[in-house]
Symmetry: C2
């Protein structure tokens, strides 16, 4: 094992036990710390139970939960403000287990403090085939007492930053002197991984910048990862790095058993003017023979060693899944204390209502997770939409502006693209620490709702998960970046979809028409991901009216993240054709063919609708082919419609092929079309129009191909197309052409 | 603007100009530094040219290139070892412009030092509609003198770490005392963004850990991003953070014009025992009226201001795109010096061949980008494949082992999943700094080829781009992680695909059968992304024989990254059916129906092949339905085949439907099938078999549905299926079910 690189002096923030009564909610002052003997009784029983559980299934993560036993006592017995009888009490402290594989630790403490759904039977169902288990392999938001789903490493940490932001914003918006409606802490457990993952590092930088002193990151520093000792891939000086990132850093050297020291450190976090990072040295699998090694990270101890472990700590090796009564007793005051917290908050709420009924009403609405009913007024009326060519990013800006100006639920952020994404709203105030007004001259405060995330797309989306999860509906976070950078953020958006968190992601520059930025900025394959991802609405509106529809869909989808995909370039508006109601159905008839009967259906999508409509004209004028056009902004919404509606839109009939026109790969369009004008390679650095022309999207290129197809189908029937989908631009290729000047030495 | 937070003392590594002759390749000692006046002449002309270029097109990035003029002189005139007449000279210093939007800076310096393809005409084509431009909006690897494509921020920085690793590994493998075949530096320019993006932060942590002292990160610290001053989203102490990350930090305070100071700092990097971070304060758009503001980040100066700028620096405002002869003269010695470097290296190569002809031959092969011809011996013979159920991750491990043991081109890495991904090979030596052997007791050295990337999937893949790009074919990096985490890494893999870089990504745990880790670890939508991404081979083998085929495909695809998608769970082996040759064609007939004629085609894919084969049996025994089975490991490879071959495999005929069985969304399979047994939601935390059963993959669930479909088609014809693709498990839904215990306060 490597020597620790951290500084060894105790930080100034470290508080002596006798100072505890000065702090926070006073729980400690009232209850006092129990004796070391009692703590040891609890820890021994806790660790034995974990060992039994993992042994029962022959696998599971035993090591971290055993190492974190003392930390759990500090959090669940002494420090956290929560109510086991109502895990969703609004002003509760939020706890996030970012090292989600250690979930047994959380499940067992939830059982001990009296969370009703967490029964012994449920605990024993961990890693079993029980369908209604509340003990899945990672914590899941659906289950009582779990704030956010974790597992993919770094995600919980970013969510915790969002949860802490939510508190700051609500507190700054609604608290008044003598009326603290919202003042909870956010506690986040992390392991080595969360401090290595980029999304975690991005989120930490922001937490430090924003001075989120209501956030405490607790590092279970057991120095072991799957590959062995953590220093096999990491030898940085984490304490110094965290200080440089804007954190208060507190060291705990005996995290295995020194409950008072851990408790002190946690309480110190509540006094800090910065976010706090507690570096707690623990031993993975503490007490077991293989303690301190990677062997115990994701494995059971073995029958003999479980027995030995129990003997080592004076427990009966023949007792399994045994919680002694005195251990239950140790936590027996928690439900009552929780109810007192809750009652105190209800009381504060009543006083607040008397003080300021108007603000109290707004607060109540947000606690209920509801928007003001007149939000629909923020959506531009059809009659007011532009008729001149307009980029959909501009049309979206109009809607964002109205929503953000009028409704406090919207937190609008950008990954450093304010000049390009059009989400900056009128009289916006930045979300910033007020201290930075003095230090840096920044304009902002915690009640501000415009968020500069910096160039951190992944953290932006993952932090948004915390904002959404704080209390569903209290916030609707909006993010903004170029669509191609949603590939950086995809793992974050996926966590929103998995958790059923409402968000609106403004994704501009969504086609090959982004101009000279070139292929690195042209999001060829990203749409395929979001169309396939469960519980995501990916919507590509073709003009301002469809943009309005996209926002309505996004706001109505209260358990779904929506990605609104927008053009950089100006697009023709189709006031005679486009429809918000049609957009809400995913696809609709944009225009029937001249005269009613038709030869071919063209599917136009988002930024490429203009090419479909121009092709339609050319087909008629040059080739006498009658084309109808279907607008198809959202495949997911279309799939929700009735079979009858779908058939009325697609009108697939023998002898009349359907061609989709979209500057992405055709993957998935085969469901609705027989042929595609699509992209089979990455893009190119050219002006918008020239890029489309280069890749065969000019109507003059498309029309003859469609004509040939129509004639072929007339001649040979539609049957020939089965298993023979036509990609007019070829299929996706392997290999790229290189003109690099190699000089080979052989 | 915020006050700088960095320490203000000059670091010890700072060298006085007079010490220059002690350093490195001696260029400075030989040429000496030119006068301040000459430097200013060059900078003024350089900045005016940039201003002219952006003005010509009315946009483009003028600010950063103007601010970085002095840095460019230091690099291109004094410090970098390169040869403009042969930009691919093997032992050249690698230069990466990670802030790729500043590409005009690089293009113009390449022109000044005499890179032939970079003509004045080409420069002037920047942001024009010129198809064969070598001046795209971001640097592209296809063009002479560009080491890696950059643009998506943070990617270049990670690639630079890979380039520096490549040098270290080659040097440790081939250099001998007195024979330095490989000793180049890697220089990487970054802006604020690369230091904010998670992938950049992950890569920096690794560079510090590995003590890559041949890497120098040059921070163009102009304190401005798109959103305004950088402190709007970042107030960390970057110097302290970089020191804590393991970097040597050097400050330069006048980066706008102090060429000697910049040169000193760059040369100091060559003496460091750690990677070096040079924090150079510059002014964005130096010399222009809007210098130092975000307004000049991505915009032209305006006609009047371009003229004013020229007047300000005593240039003729009526001259455009003008490079004075003395500016050309300033760089006129560069081509000759470059040729001397190259000649010296050729000479060293000859001496080395005399010293050690065997190693020299291997080195020559690698310089030529070739593998030993007998690599095929590393692929297990068909006759030696297992017949008992085996996880494909295990079968893949056998191949990885043989390749890695025998061929030095393979660098095998893992994102901290050594115990799970089976890529650790026999007698592996870790890639580590030898110094850490003493400091941490780690077993490893720079010639080691097993790479512990830590829990940093994105950096793992993006660093691999640098390894691949060092010299195409010299390295074939292999990475490994769970497939779901390829969502973290997707932006990195995309850059490999865009650049045509060969890599093998081992992606295990690829289905819903990953066990109790649950939905966070079940990669429902990830395959859709990689199947749609141009120039990626995504291969899902169904057994060991198809695994062999996947590796052969990956090794043969020399300009393509391959993702080999593998099961955690044991899979039935099909020695009578599976075929490596079939795998190379993407899809093939796995088994025809009993007796020849058939009623339905089942497509089996990867880890789900067993369900297809079992369904086939059940259809016959229970329902008298004759099914043939097609194995479909790779859609991309199949699309390369002839129409005849495709039809022979799919055999689509009226009245005989095709059903695909895969535990991913059906998106894209509509091209080959009429119906799907697929996933329409995220997964669940259950044991492998129970998960499949829960989601309807048991043959007992599938067979009756297929029977109904066959009968419906017999009755109504195949026509009814058009535009009416059957997802047996329903279509992808919006909204998720929540059983959360909400208590609402209203």
């Amino acid at each position: 094992m490597a020597p620790a690189l951290e500084l060894l002096e105790k930080p100034a923030q470290y508080l002596p036990v006798k100072a505890l009564s000065a702090i926070g909610n006073g729980d400690i002052a009232r209850v006092g710390l129990e004796s070391t003997e009692k703590h040891e009784r609890v820890m021994n029983a806790f660790r034995a139970f974990i060992a039994d559980l993992c042994q029962q299934y022959g696998e599971g993560h035993a090591g971290s939960p055993m190492g974190m036993a003392a930390i759990g006592i500090s959090l669940y017995k002494y420090v956290m403000k929560y109510s086991p009888n109502n895990c969703n009490y609004f002003n509760r402290d939020r706890f996030v287990l970012s090292n989600g594989h250690a979930c047994l630790w959380q499940y067992l403490f939830m059982h001990l403090v009296g969370v009703k759904s967490m029964t012994l039977e449920q605990l024993k169902s961990y890693h079993s085939a029980k369908l209604d288990s509340v003990c899945p392999g990672h914590p899941e938001i659906e289950n009582e007492g779990i704030e956010v789903t974790t597992g993919p490493l770094g995600q919980g940490l970013a969510s915790a930053v969002g949860l802490a932001m939510a508190t700051k914003n609500l507190a700054a918006t609604y608290n008044k002197p003598g009326h603290e409606l919202v003042n909870n802490m956010t506690w986040c457990m992390v392991g080595d991984a969360c401090l290595q993952e980029g999304v975690g590092l991005e989120a930490l930088s922001l937490a430090g910048h924003w001075k989120l002193n209501n956030l405490c990151v607790i590092f279970d520093n057991n120095s072991v990862t799957c590959d062995g000792t953590a220093d096999v891939a990491n030898t940085e000086d984490i304490n110094t790095k965290m200080r440089a990132t804007g954190f208060n850093v507190v060291d705990v050297y005996n995290g295995n058993s020194d409950v008072p020291e851990i408790t002190n450190a946690l309480l110190a976090a509540k006094l800090s003017d910065k976010p706090t990072f507690i570096n707690i040295r623990t031993t993975i699998g503490y007490g077991a023979a293989k303690a301190g090694t990677a062997d115990i990270h994701g494995a059971a101890l073995g029958v003999d060693e479980v027995a030995n472990f129990k003997r080592r700590f004076s427990l009966n090796p023949d007792e399994h899944f045994h919680i002694p009564q005195d251990v239950y007793d140790f936590f027996s005051d928690i439900p009552g204390r929780g109810e007192a917290h809750e009652a105190g908050w209800q009381n504060a709420l009543v006083n607040y209502q008397n003080e300021d009924p108007v603000l109290a009403a707004e607060f109540a609405l947000r606690v209920a997770g509801k928007m003001p009913e007149d939000w629909t007024k923020c959506i531009p009326r059809t009659a007011d939409q532009p008729t001149a060519p307009t980029a959909t990013r501009k049309s979206a800006g109009v809607v964002t502006n109205a929503l953000a100006v009028n409704i406090n639920s919207f937190l609008v952020g950008t990954a450093d693209l304010t000049p390009s994404v059009n989400v900056a709203y009128k009289n916006k105030v930045d979300f910033q620490s007020p201290e930075l007004q003095t230090a840096c001259g920044l304009n902002g405060t915690y009640s501000g709702r415009y968020i500069h995330y910096g160039i951190r797309e992944h953290a932006m989306c993952s932090i948004s998960n915390g904002l959404s999860a704080f209390n569903k509906g209290t916030f609707i976070p909006m993010t903004s970046t170029y669509f191609v950078f949603h590939l950086y953020a995809a793992a974050g958006v996926r966590m929103a979809a998995l958790q059923g968190l409402q968000q609106i992601h403004i994704a501009t520059h969504d086609s090959i028409g982004v101009g000279e930025n070139g292929p690195t900025h042209q999001p060829i394959a990203v749409a395929a991901l979001y169309r396939a991802m469960p519980n995501v609405l990916y919507i590509r509106p073709c003009d301002a009216e469809e943009v309005a529809g996209a926002y309505i869909a996004a706001i109505q989808a209260t358990e779904t993240p929506t990605v609104i995909s927008l053009s950089r370039q100006s697009l023709t508006q189709y006031p005679q054709n486009s429809s918000r109601e049609g957009t809400l159905k995913g696809a609709y008839v944009f225009t029937e063919a001249e005269g009613g009967d038709f030869d071919v259906t063209l599917i136009g999508v988002g930024s490429e609708m203009g090419y479909a409509m121009q092709t339609r004209e050319l087909l008629l004028s040059e080739h006498g082919i009658r084309a109808r056009v279907v607008s198809f902004p959202c495949t997911r919404l279309f799939e929700q419609q009735s079979r009858e509606y779908k058939q009325s839109v697609l009108k697939s009939r023998a002898g009349k092929p359907t061609v989709v026109i979209e500057a992405y790969p055709s993957n998935g369009w085969e469901r609705y079309a027989d042929a595609a004008v699509s992209m089979n390679s990455f893009g190119k650095s050219l002006p918008s129009k020239e890029t489309y022309e280069h890749f065969g999207f000019a109507p003059e290129s498309i029309a003859p191909k469609v004509k040939d197809l129509v004639e072929e189908v007339r001649r040979d029937g539609i049957g020939i197309l089965r298993g023979d989908f036509r990609d007019f631009n070829g299929s996706l290729r392997i290999g790229v052409e290189h003109k690099r000047f190699y000089k080979v030495y052989e």
